[in-house]
Amino acid sequence: MIRDVAIVGAGWSGFRSITPELSHKELMYDAAVRAYEDAGVDPRRDIDTFVTVGEDYHEGISIFDEYVPDQLGAVQRPVQSIAGEGIQGLAAAVMQILTGRFDIAVVEGHSKASNILTLPYILAFAMDPVFNRPLGVHPYAIAGMEMLRYLAETATTPEECAAVVAKNRSNALFNPLAGHGASISIDDVLTAEPIAEPLSRLECAGHSDGSVVFVLAAGETARVLSDHPIWIRGVGWANDTFWLESRPWGDARYARAAGEMAFRTAGIKSPAKEIDFAEIDDTFAYKELQHLEALGFCSRGSAGEWTLEGGTALGGEFPVNPSGGALGEGHLLDATGLARVLEVVLQLRGQAGQRQIDAAEVGLAFGWRGVPTTAGAAVVLSN
């Protein structure tokens, strides 16, 4: 990249299935205070620009971006809000720094999922209003259809998908932030009630409330602010066609395109060799496998077996979702990708406690915007 950019502060709040005492603005404030403390910056004096991600229907407020400045210390300052995945917001903050116009930027994402009383309707409202929405179907049906086609095209098995759930929820037991840790077996997952066959209830991430805030700084400023900046080596993002009738049902092409852009900007030739671990969207269990393959960490159709054999476990050759992922932490709506980034930052800093990966030097985070979208974003981070 034309200018070095690093994460110099990280803050979070919530990561619980309910937060009855806090408004979404207070969740954001709480995370922001921690991030600014961590970075040693005063938002009213030091931060040049603010980026938030969100979605009006998730907020239950139209034009939600008007509601973000005060709780971030951003009143009377440059603020940009993005209706997109958290890592798309991170990419926007990186680009603002790359312009040379800003030295310190903040990115924020949040979820107050526990306040949303009609989430399936919101997702259904995202489907094509003319061709798809009149069917009145639960939007997880799209995930069920994707999963079946992916299994058929790659000879991946339901057991291998279930192994993702067992791994991630077990990893979450070692993560004090994660609210969905559990010791469950592959059989538990396979015998859970079906939502949209072959997808079972335990293969769908539950939701959590929370907020994630990062402080980003340009090279020299980052070195002054932090003893241990986490460098953003490359970012990439892509959308596939949105048409259900034209998209490839068995393949996450958006992940391949986003990954290729991130690796290209990071100067990475062989992701599997040059990256030590990854936090990858697992909103649905099969998605972790599909994304792993599309990002090039293993060949198509091999992620399931790799997972079943323990290759992606905490002590495995390439740990995937050491945090527990969305299955273990709970899905944080638009902030889910930022939660993936948070774990990469904590691992690279050596602050991951019991789930610390030895010699973690380079990590990848990948976010997907969920059904019915085909939007993905990737970021490569290193010490």
């Binding site: 309910i18 005492e21 009609t118 798809n132 069917l135 997880y140 079946l148 086609r149 939502i195 997808l199």
Partner: protein
């Protein structure tokens, strides 16, 4: 220090309920209008073709997503195809269990590169398989309104 005040009992947390009534008009568009009029009036499908890319767009579009050219080549497409993928849906939009699970499928049509997402019926879930031959069942002519619901469902051929 961030938040100093913590609530000690969930009932102490005040909240209000509100809804967002949203209603809109969705224009089918030039391609969509021709597609739905054909279904309504003749009970058959039309697609657009990009001759350069050799793609027959189903549902029809006014532009090619590969080469970005304007499409004005229209062809009739038969209402037969096969199941590309499917799912048995067990929840309704309130997230409540459906009393009768329903089969949703993506059906690729024989004469097109795309297809349609719709329900399958006249078959039990355990009998559906990938590649199964199916056909569209249209509503009676006087019931058709020019929408995707003019197709009742797909059924095995």
């Amino acid at each position: 220090m961030s938040l100093l005040h913590r609530i000690e009992h969930p009932d102490d947390a005040l909240n209000w309920h509100g809804d967002m009534p949203t209603e809109g008009r969705y224009t089918a568009g030039i391609a969509g209008e021709r597609f739905f009029r054909e279904i309504k009036e003749k009970g058959q499908f039309l697609a657009t073709v990009c001759l350069d890319c050799d793609i027959t767009y189903m549902p029809p579009r006014l532009y090619c997503e590969e080469c970005f050219s304007h499409l004005d080549e229209w062809v009739e497409v038969g209402s037969w195809g096969h199941v590309h993928t499917f799912t048995v849906v067990h929840r309704d939009l309130d997230n409540e269990p459906l009393s009768e699970p329903r089969i949703l499928a993506f059906v690729t049509l024989d004469d097109a590169d795309g297809g349609l997402v719709h329900y399958l019926d006249e078959i039990e879930p355990e009998d559906v398989y990938l590649g199964m031959r199916v056909e569209a069942v249209f509503r009676a002519e006087d019931e058709r309104q020019g929408s995707i619901s003019d197709i009742e469902y797909f059924r095995p051929v």
